[in-house]
Every structure is written in C-alpha cells, then in structure tokens.
C-alpha cells in the first residue's frame, strides 16, 4: 500500500458576502440550511458531511440537512450550489475533486473559484494506491513499470 498524499474536505457556499443590511433584516441562520455533497451515500464525504451537519445544527439552532447530488466527481453538487441563491443557506462539502475537475475538465458549468465563498477546511485524509498482496509491485515505481510492460490495460477502482 502506497500513501501518495493527503486531500482535504472543505465547506463552501455560493459566492457571496452577506451584506449587513441583509443580516439585520434576517438574522442568520433563521431557517433550514442545506449541506450538499456530490458523492455516494455512506462514503467518506457523506459521513463527514453528516458529522458536521449534526454539530452545526446544535450550534446554529437550525436544521442542517445533508443533500446528495452525486455524479461527475462532485461536479453536479458544486454546480447546484454555485447557481443557488447566495444567501448562506446552500452549502457544499467540497473534496479534492473540486480542484482536480477544474484542472482536468475542458470546461465546467461554474467557475471553481469565483463562484464560491470558501468557509473552512474541515478535515484531511490520505489517498492511497493499493494492489492485491501478491501483486509484484511493492511501490509506485514498480507499479508504473509493470503497467508499462503489460499489454493488458491497468484497471483502477476508487
């Protein structure tokens, strides 16, 4: 098993700065907050979102509901929140996929930086490449050599 780095979870909101006048009229938060993420139920993003939603609910005295809009490496969730009303009630739990997608996709339906207000990183976790125990590769260099030699494709799961 080869650890290749750590990635972070970060909470963001549709790009906005809550104007003082708005806050005076409607003390934040005064209603349900939606925390969206773009990954599978029961996965790491989901568990982390639910842990924080529960604690936020206790601190903010308002319901915080986790909403899953999975697919496209989290892009659907990011797009949903990027286009939501910028009032602080639509948050998104971003993962490292947010920046990887921005680097990898020719175009995205949102601007990965300008369309969001980044509130806080919340946790970091390791990313690991693993092969079955009897595989000849003992490190990433070995694995790349094996992948380069073999005529078959090198399949991955995540």
């Amino acid at each position: 098993m080869i650890q290749i780095g750590r990635r972070s979870f970060m909470v963001g909101a549709a790009g906005c700065v809550l104007a003082p006048a708005t806050l005076a009229q409607d003390r934040y938060p005064s209603r349900l907050i939606q925390l969206t993420h773009g990954f599978g139920a029961g996965g790491n993003a989901d568990v982390v979102s639910r842990l924080f939603a529960q604690k936020m609910k206790e601190g903010l005295k308002q319901p915080v509901v986790v909403d899953i809009k999975s697919g496209a490496g989290g892009t659907f969730a990011s797009d949903y929140v990027a286009k939501s009303k910028p009032d602080g009630y639509n948050l998104v739990m971003l993962t490292g996929a947010h920046t990887v997608s921005a680097a990898l996709r020719r175009s995205l339906p949102f601007d990965a930086i300008r369309d969001f207000s980044f509130i806080s990183t919340v946790t970091s976790f390791p990313f690991v490449i693993a092969v079955r125990s009897e595989h000849p590769a003992g490190n990433l260099q070995d694995l790349m050599a094996v992948a380069g030699k073999t005529s078959s494709t090198c399949s991955t799961r995540s």
Partner: protein, 51 residues
C-alpha cells in the same frame, strides 16, 4: 465549523475514518487556486487530455 471540528466526538469519529480534523477558518480561495494550478501541472506533465 471550527467548533465542530474541535469537538472530541467529531475528532474521534473523523480519526476512526482515517481522517484528521483540519479546520481553517476562513479557507481562502488562494488555497483552492494553488491546488488547481498544482493539478493542472500534473495533467500537463502526464499529457492527459482534458475531457
């Protein structure tokens, strides 16, 4: 968010998942920008064709 990340129960749950609490408030856009630049460099060096 920082308060939640510092809660002992949350910390324990995160650690049990292999994650470490890493609150930073506010998370700055430049961190995201730096990450995008980093991965753009990886994509270019690996000659990955953007989808």
């Amino acid at each position: 968010m920082t308060t939640a990340a510092e809660d002992p129960a949350i910390k324990a749950s995160l650690l049990s998942l292999g994650s470490e609490p890493a609150p930073s408030s506010p998370a700055r856009a430049h961190m995201v920008k730096r990450e995008i630049e980093r991965w753009s460099s990886v994509v270019a060096k690996a000659a990955i064709q953007p989808a």
